[in-house]
Subunit: 421 residues, 2 copies
């Protein structure tokens, strides 16, 4: 008895039904990005580990799939795309007209503790605008994320955007007299506002010279919304697109990573579990840090795991997915009713395939009713029956059970007519 | 000055033009496989190293990207798909009606010496039929590989199929009195027939009780073709499909790997460099070896690197690729001729995108002629001009430079009409 092999923990097999659902999501990601004039690119799945340390500091290596390759290089399976994008954009930025509007769909790897919505391998849609410092680029990205959610079948009852700007906190920092070099430390505390206990937060904030009360008052006051120009412009642009109602300004969103430098946002689900479905923001210094070239940039990413969970939980969205997957069927199943006509059957298969149809047939002799069962299981639209009355061919539509016949010379015409009707 | 990061040797960046060419190939792979009634699946990029050792023996680890993960597991980035497929098929074979016709498109990793046509990362199209022992399945796979090459724009002048069957050599083994337990060793010599020197081959063959002359005579005699039933059936089925002329029986093809158990074939280029473009064969024992389930199987794989080289070298094939890539353009570029109308411009952008069009526009103020330049560089079909005469909108087709205007209420209708014409 052979040893049973299993997939590694946190890794997935994609059997045909799972693969079709995955490809549906890829298709929607791709279609909406192209609708916004973005072009697709990709980067290596394996990169030098230093590329990730440069951006995120040493602590990221805790969750890297990193190793030493046979050439003694310290390498990592990519945990995210932005460092590779920064490297690529910096290396060839002169070849492209600004702004670059680039998207990518690919797989990523993080050695994390497994839990719902978190695996060790996942797909991510990355969408970035490089070479444009105006908040108009941020607005374009937020709009894209909204249209993507709508395209997936979600409504304003299912999701909303939390929009913030890291620089809005400079108003507070000035008002409270916090030392500017402590800005990062301060934002790290804000990032934990919804997760840490009040006592712990207060303690940390006191050390920085302020308090939880002052922070909460600032958030509630709406001062930032009034005074922060980037937030105002983003809201105005979203208003012009009819998307104002999807967006809530929420300064508690600062997105953990230190490299964000301006507006940041999250798409989150408001119906089911308040999960973050996508997120991103402006990172004007990262391309310089990694590639030595000044190139302002903003972007966001959406993973496949949480959004697929949400699709499955949301009736309208799930129905769109199911309809798309169900549409992946055969056009015709060629029934070889008499083995003496197998050769002619193969010719029919070949002619229909050459005509662009998706065609299956029994590889070996099988009873006619078994063949019809196969045609139905594979959701063929048509059965094309080749038998002893050849060169006469009989067609049967599997939905309405309508039957008709024609001479072999009319094969393609008749199949085309029946598939259109 | 920041350190310059570079891609690892043998790994590729896919800038937009490269990514479009890659996606063209993926699209052709997918379309032809679906035309043959195959369904798509995928497996993890990282698997337990033992999975690959079980199939290919210890020596494969020389070219594995293998390492110990943070959970002390010995893991490898996949060098091929077949072991994962065997694992998956064995685990759930009862859930699927036989035969399974499955295909996959994914990335693979081998730590190899770099040379033309060989990288350390590559994409591969894998196509397998499981649960069918008849040579009809092998014929279906060969036919698919031929139709794929034709679909890519190649002709009988560019490629041919070398078809063989490992069992055909049993006629020779019996005739020469070679001990049957030495069959594998014998086939290893045959596998090197085109690469090793005559002297070395003769020496090895003498040790097995035969000679190079006897081998060459057997190949030239056509005995195998006459007596090997599987080869006869495959040829008859390909003949029925009108594909006889693409195929050459060539017993020197045995495909190195020990697990092939019957018919084997290669697609190779006959015009340029006699390279193998794709290859595969029957492996009836592998699913049992890996998953403990008896499931006859046959399949083949095509990598992206060699076939893309060949496309680039072959005018008709390259033209198909270029046309496909060039078709990836914008439908409309919205020209904001007067910044006072930016809000209305954004509304126009949004309405056209909601109507399914691919639309771009200037994120910030730009001169009108600059905007037209952008529209042309991005190969937009239409310029949609929003200016001071709003609610009047002006359209300009960029190919024929035709102009017309309409009221904003007719926006979608007019855009639709112009894009169809």
């Amino acid at each position: 008895m052979a040893q049973k092999f299993q997939t590694l923990p946190g890794f997935r097999d994609f059997y045909p039904a799972d693969c079709a659902a995955r490809n549906y999501l890829f298709g929607q990601w791709r279609a909406v990005a192209k609708g916004y004039g973005f072009v697709e690119y990709d980067a290596p799945i394996l990169e030098p580990t230093d590329l990730y340390k440069r951006k995120s500091g040493e602590e990221i290596s805790n969750q890297l799939f990193c190793f030493t390759d046979k050439g003694e290089r310290d390498v990592s399976m990519r945990p995210e795309l932005t460092p590779s994008l920064a490297r690529m954009a910096a290396a060839r930025q002169r070849d492209f007209k600004k702004p670059l509007k680039w998207f990518s769909i690919g797989q990523f790897f993080r050695y994390e503790k497994q839990q719902k919505g978190r695996l060790r391998e996942f797909y991510q849609f990355n969408c970035d605008i490089l070479g444009e410092s105006s908040p108009a680029a941020d607005a374009e990205l937020v709009a894209l994320s909204i249209d993507l959610m709508l395209e997936l079948g979600f409504t304003a009852q299912d999701f909303a955007i939390k929009l913030s700007d890291r620089t809005a906190w400079s108003i507070f920092i000035e008002q409270e007299g916090i030392e500017t070099e402590k800005t990062d430390a301060f934002l790290q505390v804000i990032d934990k506002l919804e997760r840490d206990k009040a006592e712990k937060l207060d303690e940390k904030l006191a050390a920085l010279g302020t308090s939880l009360t002052a922070v909460r008052e600032f958030i509630d006051s709406g001062v930032a919304e009034e005074k922060c120009e980037s937030l105002q412009q983003i809201m105005a642009e979203l208003d012009a697109r009819g998307m104002r109602d999807f967006v809530r300004i929420d300064l508690s969103i600062v997105r953990g990573l230190a490299y964000y430098s301006g507006p940041v946002f999250e798409v989150f689900d408001i119906g089911k579990g308040m999960r973050a479905i996508a997120g991103g923001g402006r990172y004007d210094q990262l391309v310089k840090l990694i590639g030595g070239v000044d190139l302002p940039a903003a972007g966001f990413a959406m993973g496949d795991v949480v959004v697929t969970d949400l699709i499955r939980e949301t009736e309208a969205a799930n129905q769109l997915l199911e309809e798309d997957v169900a549409g992946e069927t055969l056009d015709a199943y060629v029934v070889i009713a008499d083995e003496k006509q197998r050769k002619e059957g193969l010719q029919v298969v070949q002619r229909l395939r050459e005509n662009g149809l998706r065609v299956n047939f029994p590889l070996t002799a099988a009873k006619v009713n078994k063949q019809f069962q196969s045609a139905e299981q594979q959701k063929a639209d048509l059965a094309v029956i080749v038998g002893s009355d050849y060169p006469q061919i009989t067609f049967k539509t599997l939905a309405k059970r309508e039957e008709c016949s024609c001479d072999i010379s009319e094969l393609e015409d008749m199949a085309g007519k029946l598939l259109l009707s």
